[in-house]
Amino acid sequence: MKNPVKGSPRLVWCLLWVPLALALGRSEAIAQCDDCFNFSMGSTTWHYFSDEWRPLPNLYDGSHQTSQPGSCSQMHEPCDSEELDLEVLAEDAAALKQVLEGGSRAVVFNQERGALQLISCEGTVIGHLPLNEEQLAVLLEQ
């Protein structure tokens, strides 16, 4: 089977980084940046999505790989969303659940449209894949 995430080691690194960052207290520094796309406050990560801030339980964001704590510019660095293949991801229920439950901001499930959507690092929707009944059933039973 094709790997749904090109450059998957980067994904693993991102998933690991966030809890590490929170544990090390970097989140407070990031929260001071008004124009950051994502920031963390306390134990909650917030993501700016469709003109509103939404809390996310976790965060998958390649931008966090940079190591300049407290710098806003780092938040706009390239992330992994452009390396994801929605079609491949949709066929791999386990990988899809992992990405969605991990609080990914690169992929969201748009329940109203019954589709997976790919979100760019800047927050724009750059992909839309309608799911078939079987794929929908897997997601909706969560």
Partner: protein, 318 residues
């Protein structure tokens, strides 16, 4: 014969990406594109009659993107700031508005609305290629794909060229497959025509050396006219030299492609006529098509050609 020469537009005002639109009297409008916001009015023979400027000429990035003439002979001008200017035939400004994005193709389905072919990257509208748009730029319905799909690694599948007779229905052709659909503006697909041809297999990914549908027109008789760019096999192909922003200059297109124009009767799914031309025609404006040509020395000209069916009569007996 399908193609008849109408005019050659020449002069320093002609550039390789100039847009042309014709009104019902045969008068043409030329938008030089580039950094200008002026529009030239041309007589049917291609000579410049007059010109006028769009308002607010000094805004950055506000040069003209495209121009279209409406069935009422209004001129619809889009600039790169996503603004639409509706002008009377005399150049007088009638209204302005902002659209969600500049159109790749546009048609007039009837009433005051237009249908824009563009991609809109919001959670609600991504994947729909066609957007019924009110005069103020508000989208009232998005449609044209069932199911709607947008894959960033296959953007060629999202493009359409569209045409309407103003009857609330829109003909829409894919770019990377010879598949033409008829939609009504409530979002219902009414018909699908799929032309099976060895020389036009659906493709995805790298479009080099692949055919593509570049223009579509439904005429008053209900016939579909399809412009197709096909690889130019008669010449030595040269890779295009991309300019800034990935734009490929017109002379490179000219080396890469010929144009095939086909006429289809959609009511019978029948091909009525076909002609090949070694120039590159990329859009219809009413029954005209046009092609940019490098004249040397940095100058360009535009060949304007009428696409029409020529019938021969062979009546015998009573």
């Amino acid at each position: 014969m399908l193609l008849a020469e109408v005019a050659t537009v020449k002069g320093a005002h002609v550039r390789d990406d100039s847009w042309l639109a014709v009104d019902s009297s045969g008068r043409m409008f030329l938008a030089p594109s580039g950094s200008d916001r002026d529009i030239l009015v041309l007589a049917p023979d291609g000579t410049v009659v007059e010109g006028f400027d769009l308002p607010q000429p000094d805004l950055d990035g506000s040069d003209i993107h495209s121009i279209y003439t409406s069935p009422k002979d209004q001129l619809q001008v889009f600039d790169h700031q996503r603004r639409r200017f509706v002008l009377g035939g005399d150049g007088a400004l009638e209204s302005t508005g902002t659209v969600p994005d500049v159109p790749h193709s546009l048609t007039f389905p009837g009433g005051e609305s237009v249908v824009l072919q563009t991609m809109i990257f919001t959670p609600e509208l991504i994947g729909f290629p066609l957007h019924l748009t009110a005069p103020d730029g508000t989208i009232t319905r998005s449609f044209g794909a069932d199911p709607p799909l947008y894959l960033p690694n296959r953007p060629e599948g999202q493009y359409r060229v569209i045409s309407s007779l103003g009857d609330g229905r829109v003909w829409s052709s894919f770019l990377n497959q010879y598949r033409i659909e008829l939609w009504d503006t409530t979002g219902v697909r009414l018909k699908t025509l799929e032309r099976e041809a060895d020389w036009f297999q659906p493709w995805a990914g790298d479009g080099a050396d692949r055919p593509l549908v570049s223009g579509l027109r439904i005429d008053e008789a209900g016939l579909l006219w399809v412009l197709l760019l096909v690889p130019d096999t008669a010449r030595t192909r040269q890779d295009p030299v991309e300019e800034a922003h990935g734009r490929i200059p017109a002379d490179a297109w000219e080396r890469m492609y010929d144009t095939v124009i086909e006429v289809i009767d959609p009511s019978r799914s029948q091909l009525l006529a076909r002609q090949r031309d070694d120039r590159v025609f990329t859009r219809f404006t009413r029954d005209l098509v046009y092609s940019h040509r490098a004249d040397g020395g940095g100058y360009w000209s535009i060949d304007v050609v009428r696409a029409h069916l020529k019938f021969t009569s062979n009546t015998e007996g009573g």
